[in-house]
C-alpha cells in the first residue's frame, strides 16, 4: 500500500544499559489517527523521539520513510520542516511568557530581529480560534490551566503547518471535559487531512478516536489492530500479554475508628492574600479506610493536600489536624512526616524527584533515618530497601542505580510512590497516583493501596478519574471551589451523583 504517510522499519535504539527499542515497525496511513499503546517503559516515547529527530539519525538503527522518502533527521528542525510536530509528554511552554510569545518562540514574525507584535498576535488569535481557545494572546502561560496549555501546544504545532501531529499522553493531566474537547479537536483535524499519532494510557479514549492501534511491549512491536479489532480488553491483552480480569483488586474493608481528622481548615492564596483558596474544610478518615476526593481541575484538592502537608502551599493557614484524636503539629514537612503523614505529589518532575539522582537515593530521601544510624547511612541496608521497593512497585530499570531522569514517565511515578511507602506513613495522601500509568501498573498501585488500608492505615486519594475513585474508595468527598460540597459512601456513589454535587455546590457558592 502506498497510502502510508509514515513507515518506520526495524527501529532499534539503545541507551547505556537499556535496549529501549528493538526492531520496532510502525506504519501510519495518511489522514488517520494512529494510537500507540504499551506499558510504562515499553518505548513509546522513545519511538516518537526517534521519529521527530530528538535522537538524531545515527543514534538509532533502522529506517524512517516519510511520504515515500527516506529521512535522516538531524534534529527537531528537520522533522518540523517536513510537517512532523511532536508535543512531548511533559509540556515545553515557558511559564512567564505570554501565549503569543510561546507559540512563536524561535519562530517570530520579525524583520531584522525586531518582532512585529501585531502580526504575531493576529496570527495567534487565528490559531487559538482553530483549537477553540478564547484566551487573550497576551495572557501568561502560568495563568491558564493545564488543559488550555495543552491547546496552546497544539496551536503552536499548527503554526508550523503540521501534517503529522504526534501527541505523547496529551490527556494525562487533563480533566474529563478538557480531554473530550481535545479528542474532538483531533477528529476535526482528521477531517482536515492532518494525520495524528497519539500515545495514551486511557484506553477508552483510544477506543473512541483511533483508526489503528499499534501495541508495543518491552521495546518490540506486538501487533497493529485495525478499527474493527479495537476494544479495551483486546488492547490490554496485547499490552500485558495476558487478559486482565478486573481493573480493581478485590477488597474487604475493615473500617475502624477515625484516625485522621481535619477541622475547619482554611488557606489563602500565597500571592493574593485576600483570596481564600480553601474554605473551612472538615474531613475524617477512619482506620483502614480509603477516602477519595473528587472534583474538577481547580477545585483546590492539591492545594488542600499540600497545605496540610507542612504548609507547602498557601498563607494564613488555619484549622486543626488530629491524629488518633490528638491535635498534631504539621506546620513543617519534617513534622508532618514525623507524625506519619505522606503526600505523593501529582507533579513528579517538579515536586517529586531529583531527576539527576538514582532511583535508590530518591526512594530513601524522605526517610533517611530508616537506613541510617546516628546520621551515618548503612549502604547495604539502603540498597536492600531500594531493591525491595523496586520489586514491590515493579520499577523497570537495569538497576536501582539508574538516574530517575532516564526512566519512563510511569516508572518515575512508581519511584515517587516507593519513596513515600518507605516512610511507612499512617496517613497517606495520594494526588493523582496513577497519572500516566499503564493499566497493569494501575492495578498494582491499587493493590498496594488496598494492602496499606488492610494494614490499618488511613488513605486519601485525589483523582480526576471518577471510575478510579469509585473503584477503589470506601467513601468519597466531593470538592468544588475550595469547599467540600458532598460526601457519599462509594457504594451508593456514581459519576452522576458526584457531578450533581459539584453543580449544587456551584449554585450554593453563587447564592
Amino acid at each position: 500500500m502506498s497510502s502510508y504517510i509514515l513507515e518506520m522499519h526495524d527501529i532499534t535504539k539503545t541507551f547505556p544499559g537499556v535496549k529501549a527499542l528493538s526492531n520496532v515497525n510502525l506504519k501510519v496511513e495518511e489522514g488517520e489517527i494512529h494510537a500507540i499503546c504499551g506499558e510504562n517503559g515499553a518505548g513509546k516515547s522513545t519511538l516518537m523521539k526517534v521519529l521527530s529527530g530528538v535522537y538524531p539519525s545515527g543514534d538509532y538503527e533502522g529506517k524512517i520513510v516519510y511520504r515515500g522518502e527516506e529521512c535522516h533527521f538531524k534534529g527537531i528542525h528537520d522533522s518540523e520542516e517536513k510537517g512532523i510536530v511532536i508535543i512531548h509528554q511533559e509540556l515545553a511552554l515557558v511559564p512567564m511568557l505570554s501565549i503569543a510569545e510561546n507559540i512563536f518562540l524561535g519562530n517570530e514574525h520579525a524583520r531584522w530581529g525586531v518582532i512585529n507584535w501585531h502580526a504575531n498576535e493576529a496570527r495567534t488569535r487565528q490559531l487559538l480560534a482553530k483549537v477553540g481557545l478564547g484566551e487573550d494572546p497576551k495572557t501568561l502561560i502560568t495563568n491558564i490551566g493545564t488543559g488550555k496549555q495543552q491547546l496552546v501546544e497544539i496551536a503552536k504545532a499548527l503554526s508550523k503547518d503540521v501534517e503529522l501531529l504526534i501527541l505523547d499522553e496529551p490527556t494525562a493531566s487533563l480533566s474529563e471535559k478538557d480531554s473530550q474537547a481535545l479528542l474532538d479537536l483531533l477528529l476535526e483535524f482528521k477531517r482536515q487531512g492532518i494525520t495524528s499519532i497519539i500515545i495514551s494510557h486511557k484506553l477508552n479514549e483510544i477506543n473512541r478516536v483511533a483508526d489503528h492501534v499499534t501495541v508495543i511491549r518491552d521495546g518490540r512491536t506486538i501487533e497493529t489492530l485495525d478499527r474493527s479489532q479495537i476494544s479495551e480488553d483486546r488492547i490490554i491483552t496485547s499490552m500485558v500479554g495476558r487478559s486482565l480480569e478486573d481493573r480493581y483488586p478485590p477488597r474487604d474493608p475493615q473500617i475502624g475508628e477515625p484516625i485522621f481528622e481535619v477541622k475547619n481548615w482554611s488557606v489563602y492564596h500565597p500571592l493574593h492574600a485576600e483570596r481564600q483558596v480553601i474554605k473551612n474544610i472538615d474531613i475524617t478518615v477512619r482506620k483502614g479506610e480509603v477516602v477519595g476526593i473528587a472534583g474538577l481541575m481547580g477545585a483546590g484538592r492539591t492545594e488542600f493536600a499540600m497545605s496540610l502537608f507542612g504548609r507547602s502551599y498557601g498563607r494564613k493557614i488555619s484549622g486543626e489536624v488530629f491524629l488518633h484524636g490528638k491535635a498534631i503539629d504539621v506546620s513543617t514537612v519534617g513534622k508532618a512526616v514525623e507524625r506519619g503523614l505522606a503526600y505523593v505529589t501529582e507533579d513528579r518532575k517538579v515536586f517529586g524527584l531529583n531527576l539527576i539522582d538514582t532511583i535508590k537515593n530518591n526512594i530513601t530521601i524522605a526517610n533517611l533515618k530508616g537506613v541510617s544510624n546516628v546520621g551515618v547511612i548503612d549502604d547495604l541496608k539502603e540498597l536492600d530497601v531500594a531493591n525491595d521497593y523496586r520489586r514491590k512497585t515493579n520499577i523497570r530499570s537495569p538497576s536501582v542505580f539508574q538516574k530517575t531522569g532516564n526512566l519512563s514517565g510511569g516508572n518515575q511515578q512508581k519511584v515517587v510512590l516507593s519513596k513515600w511507602l518507605f516512610s511507612s506513613p499512617e496517613v497517606l495522601i495520594l494526588d493523582e497516583p496513577t497519572r500516566g500509568i499503564d493499566v497493569g501498573a494501575k492495578y498494582e498501585i491499587y493493590t498496594i493501596i488496598a494492602r496499606l488500608a488492610a494494614e490499618g492505615r488511613a488513605i486519601i486519594v485525589i483523582s480526576s478519574e471518577m471510575p478510579e475513585l469509585l473503584g477503589i474508595s470506601d467513601r468519597i468527598y466531593v470538592m468544588n471551589e475550595g469547599r467540600i460540597v458532598g460526601e457519599m459512601a462509594a457504594s451508593d456513589a456514581s459519576q452522576e451523583k458526584i457531578m450533581r454535587a459539584i453543580v449544587r455546590g456551584e449554585g450554593k457558592a453563587a447564592s
Binding site: F309, G334, V337, G352, L368, V376, L380, R391, F401
Partner: protein, 429 residues
C-alpha cells in the same frame, strides 16, 4: 564485563525488566574519574620532563605547602556548589582572617593565653564560621542569590583585610609555632633509617642515588594508611557479596587497588626521603577523609545533594533546606578561615593581598573535578584531583618560568576544556 545490577533479590523485576538488557560496564561509568586522574598524571609527567624537578622530594613538599589551601577551601566550595550556590568571598575571607590572626599574635597585646597561636587559630576558625553564617543567613532565609551576597562579602572582607593591616603594610613576623602549620613537618618520633648509606666520591660529593635516608614515622604512617585502604576495600567487597550484591569485577578491583597503592607508596617514599609528611598535608588529608565520609555516607551529605538536585522535591521530602544551606555556608566560612591561616603561616606574615584571586582557583578546582554549575553533582575525590591539577600547573609553570599572565591563560583554558569535555560526554551518553 558484568552488569552492575544487583541480582539475587530482584527476581521478579528482573523477569519483566524492559527489553533485552545490555550490560553496563562499571569501568565506563567511572570513566570520568579515571580520565581525571590520568590527566593529572599526564600533567605531572609533562612538567617532570620539561622542568626535571617536579618529582624531586623538595619540590613535592613545596607543591603541597603552596597549594593545600586551595584544596582545603575547595572542600567547602564543593558543598556550596553541589547545593546549587556559589561563594565568591572565600579569597577575601581568607585574607581577612590571616590579617586578623596576625594582628592578634603580633600587634594587639592580648598576651598569654589569648595570644597563643593555637587559641588564636581556634578563634579565627570560629570567626570564619560566623562570617559564613552571616552570609548564609541572607542566602538561606531571605533567598538573596548567593552570587550577590558573596560578591558583597568579597568586597567587604577584602576591604576589612586591608583596613585591619593599616593600608598597604604587612604584619609579621608570625611566631614559628604558628608557621609550622604550613612549613612544618610531622615530628620524627621513630627516628630515621638509612636505606643506602651515602657514598662520597673523590671530589667529596655524595654520589647520585646513594645516601637515601627514610623518615620512619612517615613510612609507617604511609604503609598503615595504604593497608587500611586495601583492607577496607576488600571488606566492603565481602559484605556486598555476602548480601548478594555483585561488586565490580575482581580483576578491575585488584588492578585499581594495586595502582592506587603503588602511587600512594611512591609519594610516601618521596616525602620520607625528604623531611617526612608536611603538617599541612596531614591536615588536608584528614579533612579530605572527613568530607569523603560526609558526602558519601552521612544523611547530611545526602541531603545536600538532594537539595542541589531539586530543591522543591527536597523540601517536600521533609528536608529543612534553609538550615542546610546555612550549614553549608558556615562550613565554607570555617574552611576559608583555615585557608587564610595556612596562607599566613606559609608567608610568615599577613599581607593585604593574601588570598587575592584564590576564589577563582578554588571554584575552578571544583568544576575541573566535574561538579555541575546547576548543583546536585560533584565528588570530593574528583575535586581534590582538580585542586591538584591547578596546583601542579601553578607549580610547574612557575618552575618553567612561564610568566604569571600566561599562567592564567593556561589555567583558564584548562578549566574551559575540562567543562567542555564533561558536557560533551554527557550529551553523548
Amino acid at each position: 564485563m558484568t552488569d552492575t545490577a544487583p541480582t539475587p533479590q530482584t527476581g521478579v523485576a528482573q523477569d519483566v525488566a524492559g527489553g533485552p538488557r545490555v550490560p553496563v560496564s562499571t569501568f565506563a561509568s567511572n570513566l570520568r574519574e579515571y580520565g581525571l586522574v590520568l590527566a593529572l598524571i599526564a600533567i605531572m609527567v609533562f612538567f617532570q620532563f620539561t622542568t626535571g624537578t617536579l618529582f624531586k622530594p623538595v619540590n613535592l613538599s613545596n607543591l603541597v605547602q603552596q597549594n593545600s589551601f586551595i584544596i582545603v577551601m575547595a572542600l567547602g566550595m564543593l558543598l556550596v556548589i553541589v547545593s546549587g550556590h556559589i561563594d565568591l568571598s572565600v579569597g577575601s575571607v581568607a585574607g581577612f582572617i590571616g590579617a586578623l590572626a596576625a594582628m592578634m599574635m603580633v600587634i594587639w597585646p592580648l598576651g598569654g593565653f589569648l595570644g597563643n597561636p593555637l587559641v588564636v587559630s581556634i578563634i579565627c576558625l570560629l570567626i570564619g564560621g560566623a562570617i559564613g553564617a552571616a552570609q548564609g543567613y541572607w542566602i538561606a532565609y531571605h533567598r538573596i542569590p548567593s552570587f550577590i551576597v558573596t560578591l558583597a562579602g568579597m568586597l567587604v572582607f577584602r576591604g576589612l583585610c586591608q583596613g585591619l593591616l593599616g593600608g598597604g603594610s604587612s604584619v609579621g613576623p608570625l611566631p614559628d609555632s604558628f608557621k609550622a602549620l604550613s612549613s612544618g613537618f610531622l615530628p620524627e618520633v621513630l627516628g630515621t633509617w638509612t636505606l643506602i648509606p651515602p657514598t662520597v666520591n673523590a671530589a667529596g660529593k655524595t654520589i647520585f642515588g646513594s645516601g637515601v635516608t627514610l623518615n620512619l614515622t612517615t613510612v609507617v604512617i604511609g604503609i598503615i594508611a595504604v593497608l587500611a585502604f586495601a583492607i577496607s576495600g576488600v571488606s566492603a567487597r565481602r559484605t556486598r557479596e555476602k548480601h548478594g550484591y555483585e561488586a565490580e569485577p575482581f580483576a578491575l578491583f585488584v588492578v585499581k587497588t594495586v595502582v592506587i597503592a603503588a602511587l600512594a607508596l611512591f609519594f610516601v617514599y618521596q616525602f620520607a626521603v625528604y623531611r617526612g609528611f608536611p603538617i599541612v598535608l596531614v591536615v588536608m588529608g584528614i579533612l579530605v577523609g572527613i568530607f569523603v565520609f560526609i558526602t558519601r555516607h552521612t544523611t547530611i551529605g545526602r541531603r545536600v545533594y538532594a537539595m542541589g538536585g531539586n530543591i522543591k522535591a527536597a523540601q517536600l521530602s521533609g528536608i529543612k533546606t534553609e538550615r542546610l544551606t546555612l550549614f553549608v555556608f558556615i562550613n565554607m566560612g570555617v574552611l576559608s578561615a583555615l585557608g587564610g591561616l595556612i596562607i599566613a603561616a606559609r608567608l610568615g606574615q599577613a599581607v593585604p593581598a593574601a588570598g587575592l584571586g584564590s576564589e577563582l582557583d578554588v571554584i575552578a578546582a571544583v568544576f575541573i573535578g566535574g561538579a555541575s554549575a546547576m548543583g546536585g553533582v560533584g565528588q570530593v575525590m574528583s575535586t581534590v584531583v582538580g585542586g591538584f591539577i591547578m596546583g601542579v600547573m601553578n607549580n610547574g609553570m612557575s618552575i618553567m618560568g612561564v610568566n604569571v599572565d600566561w599562567q592564567q591563560v593556561v589555567k583558564g583554558l584548562v578549566l574551559l576544556g575540562a567543562v567542555i569535555f564533561d558536557v560533551y560526554n554527557k550529551n553523548k551518553g
